[in-house]
């Protein structure tokens, strides 16, 4: 197997050094490394991070291969600096059996530009009526540890309680899409001044917060792990802070778009901004940034949600919810967290690799950059501004909210087990 010398990279933004990668691991770290036959990657000015891990990716395969596939989605992931992604279960068929999760896992093994960890559905068909065979999904080769009905909320309190209890047997976690269904009937955007002005059905913050509060209490009661997907409101951050202060095993994620975009953008009625949970207000954005900075929110997760053109190029009410995220995530985090002084690069590594890998129980990812660790690495150039061209992204879909916007930095290379999946900003 070929080896690589990464020359002059700054691990976590610290002092530049060289890294020797061989046999899938980091074998040496130090200045002026050399090794016979090794490929040299000039990484001067680049920051080395442990390969990013996404807890929340929609790969759309099986079922909507026109919008995304395991191949195209992981291509976008690699270009975004990710070495592992969790593939959400709301595919068609739903990933609610060992067969489907194993199929997704095998596609990841075969075509993936990043490791694919399937997420299993909590309930059969995401219908919220019967528990899916969580144990079978955990025991199959895909070794599922994260279970979620994402796109839908497990709103029945008894089902949620049972799911939380049940997955303790195999160290699983329930990742909840917190959305009280009755409070969000007909909801189209954040409920507030803007929804009143635009005449769009309001999605109140309390619909998210009420479920988070309930689930924290349930998780504490049964002594299980809860992960809260894509928190979007200031009140949610407060609730998670409270749960953590109690010592409960509750973790949470925030998307890059909820850290930067607000419901003001909906004024355009452009469905590119239609997302679930909805874009919130400026003060919510501030609270989310603060929560991510102080560790209340454990992880940045993309909620990468590709949609075919016909599902977005229509009127607001008819449009599908979601936006792309994998290729822009790190640059957005740099812009709103690093360049603003809220988080350093070690913090970025923690929130985008180390903690997500721990939450998802992903072996071999999210480790420190140290000798004998798996060589899953991202080399990032923080001073490489680029203007997002929606047509040039690797996803099969083009629904990026950042089209035409300038982002401050770019992924230069991604290494998966010592081999580049991306080099010089291109698929290797």
């Amino acid at each position: 197997m070929s080896s690589f010398i990464v020359r002059g990279a700054a691990p976590l933004g610290g002092e530049p050094t060289d890294l020797l990668l061989a046999d899938g691991r980091i074998v040496e770290i130090g200045p002026g490394l050399s090794a016979a036959g090794a490929h040299v990657v000039d990484a001067a000015g680049l920051i080395a991070l442990p390969g990013l891990v996404d807890l929340h990716t929609h790969l759309r395969e099986p079922g909507r291969e026109d919008a995304e596939t395991v191949e195209s989605g992981t291509r976008a992931a690699a270009l975004g600096g990710f070495t592992a992604v969790h593939a959400m279960a709301n595919t068609s068929p739903v990933a609610d059996t060992a067969g489907v999760v194993e199929q997704v896992w095998r596609m990841g093994q075969e075509y993936g530009h990043a490791d694919v960890r399937p997420v299993g559905a909590v309930t059969v068909g995401l219908a919220g009526e019967w528990l899916a065979e969580l144990g079978a999904m955990a025991d199959c080769p895909a070794a599922v540890r994260v279970f979620s009905d994402d796109g839908k909320c497990v709103s029945d309190a008894v089902l949620m309680r049972r799911a939380l209890e049940y997955v303790k047997a195999f160290d699983g976690v329930i990742a909840q899409h917190a959305q009280e269904p009755r409070l969000t009937e007909g909801a189209q955007m954040n409920e507030g001044e803007m929804s009143a002005l635009l005449g769009l059905g309001g999605w109140p913050a309390v619909a998210e917060e009420a479920i988070i509060a309930r689930d924290c209490l349930l998780a504490a009661h049964v002594g299980s792990r809860l992960h809260v997907c894509h928190v979007s409101t200031a009140g949610s951050v407060d609730l998670i802070r409270w749960a953590k202060a109690k010592g409960w095993d509750v973790t949470a994620e925030v998307t890059p778009h909820h850290l930067v975009l607000t419901d003001d953008l909906v004024r355009s009625y452009d469905p590119i901004y239609k997302v679930n949970p909805p874009l919130r207000t400026h003060s919510d954005v501030e609270a989310l940034r603060a929560g991510l900075a102080d560790g209340t929110i454990d992880a940045v997760a993309t909620d990468h949600a590709p949609h075919a053109d016909e599902d977005k190029d229509c009127e607001w009410a008819a449009a599908a919810m979601g936006m792309l995220g994998l290729q822009t995530a790190l640059a957005v985090v740099q812009q709103v967290m690093v360049d603003t002084g809220l988080l350093d690069w070690a913090g970025v590594a923690d929130r985008m690799s180390i903690r997500p890998a721990r939450i998802g129980r992903v072996d071999g990812h999210g480790r420190s950059i140290a000798v004998d660790q798996p060589a899953n690495l991202t080399l990032y150039d923080p001073s490489a501004p680029w203007v997002v061209d929606g047509d040039q992204l690797a996803s099969r879909s083009r629904n990026t909210p950042y089209r035409g916007r300038e982002l401050p930095g770019a992924v230069y290379a991604t290494f998966l087990r010592g081999r580049p999946t991306v080099l010089d900003g291109k698929i290797a």
Binding site: E191, E193, A196, G199, L200, D270, C314, E315, A317, A318
Partner: protein, 318 residues
């Protein structure tokens, strides 16, 4: 110059006054033996209605015909919210037909906005009511009616009563009447007021009886009995008792005050028959004024010679 009329907020004070003045001139046409002007000859106006509204459609149709435009009625039925391709596809068809103006009524808020800004068509878009968002020509005809009956709008007190939450008429009226200098109060139970209403340029009250003696205009909105099932209010009887306009309540209005209703009415629910049929009621005039106002809007948007609707951006928000 703005090409579209999507929201009452698109209109400056001068724009609105120009429309009302033009409508007043055009209203005189009704007294002539030949009720037709050649102004929009050769222009094509499409009525694109995703929601049935014979009254509004007919009003726009007649308005366009009185200005000699060619009119196509395009009833786009059965497009479900989950499959929205049809709006774009229909727009492309209309573009191919060379539509100069598209009058659109849609069940989805923002659909006319999308039609105007998505790059699907080049013609002018006129919002004839979108979801629970706006209905700007209704607000214009209401303003026309108030000006006609009361001699002016500046400083007048207008109470809009009922289901504000779901009412595009209320939204457009608040914006336009504020622009024209009226003082608007929204009167409804708290469940039928939008959450962000506090930032609107109007007052809010839960108490109809307290507002009536101060009102020059009371505008009653239709309240659907179905809202009861969604717990917006406990019963039809309780609603009528607290927010319905009956003769006794009407008697507490100042002598010159008028009673308006955008129709269709729920007699016995928000308004009683004697009130609806009283001399104070302007409900029938509102319909005929709608024709003049829509003629004025089409004329000013399409004739091109008079840039009366929507000046350049520097006059906006004045």
């Amino acid at each position: 110059m703005k090409r579209h009329l999507l929201s009452a907020a698109d209109l400056t004070r001068d724009d609105a006054v120009a429309i009302l003045d033009t409508a007043a001139e055009l209203a005189r046409l009704a007294d002539r033996p030949i009720k037709k002007l050649p102004t929009l000859r050769g222009r094509t106006v499409v009525n694109l209605f995703y929601e049935d509204s014979t009254r509004t459609r007919t009003s726009f149709e007649l308005a366009a015909k009185r200005l000699s435009a060619d009119v196509i009625n395009f009833a786009a039925k059965g497009s479900s919210v989950s499959k929205g391709e049809s709006l774009k596809d229909t727009a492309l068809t209309l573009e191919a037909m060379g539509a100069d103006a598209v009058v659109v009524r849609h069940f989805a808020s923002g659909a006319p906005h999308r039609l105007a800004t998505a790059g699907w068509i080049r013609g002018s878009v006129i919002n004839a009511g979108d979801g629970t968002h706006e209905h700007p020509t209704q607000a214009l005809l209401d303003a026309y009616t108030m000006r006609d009956r009361l001699g002016g709008i500046e400083g007048r007190r207008v109470s809009i009563v009922g289901d504000i939450l779901h009412s595009r008429v209320a939204r457009s009226n608040v914006l336009l009447l504020h622009t024209l200098g009226a003082e608007v109060t929204l009167v409804a139970p708290p469940t039928l007021l939008p959450v962000g209403v506090g930032s609107w340029p109007c007052a809010v009250s839960y108490d109809l009886d307290a507002e009536l003696p101060k009102s020059d205009v009371v505008m009653m909105l239709r309240v659907q009995r179905e809202r009861m099932n969604a717990a917006f209010f406990p019963s039809a009887r309780e609603y009528s008792r607290r927010y319905g306009l009956h003769s006794e309540r009407m008697a507490t209005l100042p002598e010159h005050a008028i009673v308006m209703h955008p129709g269709p009415m729920n007699r016995g629910m928000e308004i009683t028959a004697p009130v609806a049929d009283s001399v104070r009621s302007t409900i029938v005039e509102q319909v005929s004024n709608g024709l003049s106002v829509r003629m004025a809007v089409l004329y000013l948007l399409l004739s091109g010679s008079e840039p009366a609707i929507g000046r350049d951006d520097e006059t906006e928000g004045a």
